[in-house]
């Protein structure tokens, strides 16, 4: 009869194990053959230990959350690590008391109910430890409750909304440890098997202590555990077991390859809905509050993702930097866009292969740069000074680089433009391709196969000119803020070259929101839904931040950012190429005359 109290716990636990087993097998078998091999292989190498370490550091200690927000980190750590230790120490206690290495799973859970004697070796130390750990976990539960009602205390602006499944799981999780405290307290009062915490509680209960009350408390505790386990697979707490799988799969090198597969599910279920991705997402400045990564992940999981949400994101990548679980939010979203637009990719049959003039260097300005003629003029000037034999590939006409299509999910269509541009670039026999737009830079670097042609971003190109003293610049006293374009900074990891270029022309001031934490200008081509007035709100938010530092110039390395910021009245905005040309020492002689005439003729043929 007494053993009945373990029933709710056991049923919940077995159900949970069944579902987990089923899902994990389904997910792993859904990976491609190659990915499966990768996974198996990684288990035999050092990566296995790396993964174990990561599970410990992130899954239990929650190091990344700690670094971002210590209180939140402590909350996660006390719950996860505290509970883990309770289980481990509890098992040791049972092993010692029973003098055996094997004990039924349920015994450590209900130990104080069954073990009324309290006369095995080290019993005092164990009960002290267990009380201490219980206190540790309880402090986490208390913080979790506080966070639900007073999130500001945690420095969080927003917290996620809950569904019914989550509510049940949340409530039962909150109940587990307080009920355990009450039950163990009462048992301590009755049998004297507690330590500083539970014994004190037993004393406080005084005359209330009775076998019936004891039994009901333990039953309630068992029920809350059972409910939690049963609700877990359909709640956000599914992230706890899934995150472990994610770490192993990710460390094996598995990636999404422009199609959904079960790696999508693994990532989606690993999201703890901690909401850290909401904090720095700029969309909220425009009142857009239902399209951030956490909601997209939730919608994918619930099969109700709408295009309006999917395409309303700047793809700025801030949330990916912030996500403590390391979910590839950008990859995941682009993959959903690919799936959503698969049916209507264009074939661009009108593209023609024209003759490509021979040149050492090809310059591809890109659609956006054509809207900022200042950048083109500056680049031409620099090429001229360097005596570069350059072919300005899209001066008259050329297809787009393909990146805007990719941002909209149309990879197949983009591949047509890529093929056409590739043939021309290789046909020119050039050694390098210079681009002045990060949007183009990313796609040329990542998706083009250009054989021996080196893709160079204009910041690197200019830096090289400065270092080789092909151009000399006059350093002025201007205070310059450099705005990291999303595609270049977070997108390609290029932070320093543009800054170094600028340091040759003025004083570059460092600010709080830069590099990985840089703002998006709001102009992003990644967002297809946001309206212009909303874009202005995002831009203004960034500008306000920059103005605090009283810059003379806001420099950037992207025509799109430049165009977006230039619409703001109170700011002088320049591309780094323009800043450089402005700072040129006038006496430099052009080394050679640009071989423009020849390419002009050939371009005329193209028209």
């Amino acid at each position: 009869m007494e053993k009945l109290i373990i029933l709710p716990f056991s049923i919940g636990f077995i159900y949970l194990l069944g579902i987990l087993g089923f899902r994990f097998v389904k997910w792993i078998s859904g990976l491609s053959r190659l990915d499966k091999l990768r996974l198996i292989h990684s288990l035999k190498t050092r990566r296995f230990f790396d993964s174990l370490q990561e599970v410990f550091m992130e899954g239990l200690l929650h190091r990344k959350i700690f670094l971002k927000n210590p209180v939140l980190g402590y909350m996660h750590m006390s719950l996860a690590f505290g509970w883990f230790l309770l289980i481990v120490v509890g098992h040791f206690e049972v092993m010692v008391s029973r003098q055996s290495l094997i004990a039924p799973i349920y015994l450590p859970v209900f130990f104080r109910y069954f073990e009324t004697g309290h006369s095995f070796p080290l019993a005092g130390i164990f009960s002290f430890l267990m009380d201490l750990l219980l206190l540790f976990v309880l402090s986490g539960v208390a913080l979790a409750m506080l966070k639900r009602f007073k999130k500001q205390l945690f420095g969080m602006k927003k917290t996620t909304r809950l569904k019914t499944g989550d509510r049940i799981a949340l409530l039962s999780l909150w109940m587990i440890f307080p009920l355990r405290l009450l039950a163990e307290g009462m048992s301590a009062g009755l049998y004297g098997n507690g330590s500083f915490l539970t014994s004190t509680l037993g004393h406080i209960f005084g005359n209330l202590n009775s076998e019936t009350a004891n039994l009901s408390l333990w039953t309630a505790y068992s029920c809350s555990l059972g409910f939690f386990f049963a609700a877990l697979p359909n709640s956000r707490y599914m992230h706890i077991p899934t995150e472990i799988l994610l770490i192993f799969v990710r460390n094996a090198g598995v990636k999404l390859k422009k199609r959904n597969n079960t790696y999508t599910n693994i990532q989606v279920f690993s999201c703890s809905r901690c909401g850290l991705c909401l904090d720095n997402c700029q969309l909220s400045a425009a009142g857009i509050n239902n399209t951030q990564s956490v909601y997209i992940l939730k919608n994918i999981r619930n099969h109700n993702l709408s295009d309006e949400q999917l395409f309303n994101c700047l793809l700025c990548g801030k949330c990916e930097v912030d996500c403590p679980v390391g979910i590839n939010t950008i990859d995941l979203r682009i993959t959903q866009r690919i799936e959503s637009t698969r049916q209507y990719n264009s074939s661009y049959e009108y593209l023609e292969d024209g003759p490509a003039p021979k040149a050492d260097t090809v310059y591809f300005a890109g659609c956006m740069t054509h809207l900022t003629p200042g950048i083109i003029a500056s680049m031409k000037k620099l090429f001229q000074l360097a005596g570069e034999n350059v072919w300005f590939m899209d001066e008259e006409k050329a297809p787009c680089c393909g990146r805007p299509l990719m941002l909209a999910g149309q990879y197949e269509a983009a591949s047509k433009l890529i093929a056409n541009n590739t043939r021309k670039i290789i046909g020119s026999g050039a050694k390098r391709l210079v681009v002045s737009c990060p949007i183009c830079y990313k796609v040329f670097k990542e998706d083009y196969e250009l054989a021996n042609v080196e893709v160079v971003f204009h910041a690197e190109y200019i830096l090289n000119l400065i270092r080789q003293q092909i151009i000399t610049l006059k350093k002025g006293a201007d205070r310059i803020i450099y705005h990291d374009p999303c595609e270049l900074g977070r997108g390609m990891g290029m932070f320093e070259p543009p800054r170094e270029v600028l340091r040759a022309t003025g004083k570059v001031i460092s600010i709080k929101n830069e590099k990985q934490m840089a703002h998006c200008c709001g102009g992003s081509l990644g967002n297809l839904k946001i309206s212009q007035p909303e874009r202005s709100l995002l831009r203004n938010q960034a500008v306000e931040d920059y103005l605090q530092y009283r810059p003379d110039v806001l420099a950037t390395a992207c025509p799109m950012c430049k165009k977006t910021f230039s619409r703001h009245p109170g700011l002088k905005v320049q591309d780094i190429s323009e800043t450089v040309v402005q700072a040129l020492q006038s006496k430099v002689q052009p080394k050679a005359v640009i071989k423009k005439a020849k390419s002009n003729v050939l371009e005329a043929e193209l028209i």
């Binding site: 049916q343 074939s347 661009y348 956006m368 433009l417 007035p533």
Partner: protein
């Protein structure tokens, strides 16, 4: 034989009692900014696809209003999604989204019409 069909052009009359507004309504529902288009042609002047072909974004808007779904479904394929049109539009219309919506809706209509 010389092609003299231009002497007898097809009727360009639009029957407003009988026109296909499925595309237009869909676009307006999700991108209401299209309401304010003044057909200025700024988009067409800057268009990257228009630079390579005879593609004309302004005409896309016109055909959309006239319910010329057939013509649209061909023509719309030419856009390269570069976004220049959206940046130059003086009425701040999110043209890139208009194009995306047209493509999406046409794909939906095709699915509806094709026997499953």
């Amino acid at each position: 034989m010389n092609d003299l069909s231009f002497l007898k052009p097809a009727s360009r009359q639009i029957d407003f009692d009988n026109f296909d507004d499925r595309l237009l309504l869909y676009v307006l529902q999700y991108e209401p900014s299209f309401f304010t288009c003044i057909s200025c042609g700024g988009c067409t002047a800057t268009c990257s696809a228009g630079n390579l072909t005879n593609f004309n974004v302004r005409k896309i808007g016109l055909w959309l209003r006239r319910g010329e779904t057939e013509k649209l479904s061909e023509e719309i394929q030419k856009c390269m999604f570069c976004g220049k049109c959206t940046l130059v539009c003086p009425r701040d219309i999110n043209i890139r989204n208009v194009i995306l919506l047209i493509k999406k809706r046409i794909a939906m209509l095709k699915n509806e019409n094709s026997p499953a």
